[in-house]
């Protein structure tokens, strides 16, 4: 079981790592953010499997933290990108 979980963790890591090619290729910012998002989810899955394989319960806490925060940069990206478009009525820059 341990070996299977480790192997599965490695497989998922490899898969999401392949997805990172999107960061390299783009073409848009959204594509890059999506690749990071996929890596976040994959990383959570890997952590959970590692935790189950090694019996370190606290790894689930790390996964919890990641699950809460991994999506944050995407949100920040959308907010900042919206604010950068003037017609969206986003942030007002002071003169």
């Amino acid at each position: 079981m341990v070996d299977f979980l480790l192997a599965a963790a490695g497989f998922v890591l490899l898969m999401v790592a392949l997805g990172l090619v999107r960061i390299l290729r783009g073409p848009g910012d959204a594509d890059r953010m999506m690749a990071a998002q996929l890596l976040g989810t994959g990383g959570i899955a890997v952590l959970l499997m590692l935790g189950a394989a090694t019996g370190v319960a606290a790894m689930v806490d790390v996964a919890l933290t990641l699950a809460l925060l991994a999506a944050f940069s995407s949100i920040a990206y959308v907010r900042a990108a919206d604010a950068a478009l003037p017609h969206e009525g986003g942030a007002e820059r002071d003169p």
């Binding site: 370190v56 606290a58 940069s73």
Partner: protein
Amino acid sequence: MTGVLFNVALAVLVLGLAVWTIIAREAFAAVVGFIAYGLLLTLVWVQLQGIDVALTEAAIGGGLTGVLLIGAAARLRGIEAAPGAERPRNSLYWMAGAVSAAVTAVLVICVLALPDPAPTLAHEVALNIVDTGVANPITAVLLAFRPMDTLLEAIVLVFALIGVWSLAPDDSWGGRPGPVQQSDPNGILAYAARILPPLGIVIGIYIFWTGADYPGGKFQGATILAAMWLLLMMAGLSEAPPISRGWLRVGLVAGPLVFIAIGFIGVLTAGDFFGYPQGLAKPLIVAIELALMPSLTLVLGLLMVGAPQRVAKL
């Protein structure tokens, strides 16, 4: 065997993302690469048996630092084309490459030259941890054996906040930090900002509470709470308070002040600054963490928001 392969794959990925972060043409693409790099580092910490560090990295590297940098990259979009006069000439480029490679080479030698068996303080910690009453050795180091570093860390954050605030335009001093956030109260972001924070607050407090005996602690917990606050602000559901508010100022420094006060109580009761009287170590440590937590949450949240930018309304 699987473990080794996994580690090698992880190391290669980390290196690849670092290369991308350094050489990517656009700043934005580089920042996204860095965020992915931070996520993978969390896994590396786990593999290095540093769960506490992994928690910190997940909260900081995967969360706050990424948000800071993405925000900056998105605001500076298109500005990056301006090369500035400091693009190094070719010869310098090679030179820089050579010295950086030399640093790597020297560090490789050093890593391989480190003594075996490695010196460690783990035995000393194991011997003395009983006196502290906590079971998590990291917490024991941070709050009993080396509390000065932890106090200084809290003070570093306050200094950083003073530094960030000092960048405000003169007429905005005392006002609310950050740009005006306008958003659709029925939008998807507002929806997420209503669902996530209650869960996040529970998890943040859990991570803090478990820290005395298991991996976790005030800093990781505070980061999660700060992130939830930030989410509310980004969704427009809550506004950053004006920086001149009295409660805010008190809240920001209350943690370090309590920490120092408990340190001085130690002089009276245990004979040493930062000393804990017999049997009271754990309650005092928890008290310090409890006091630091809100201050750290406020400081981290406000560091993310930035300097006051709007004219203060009196």
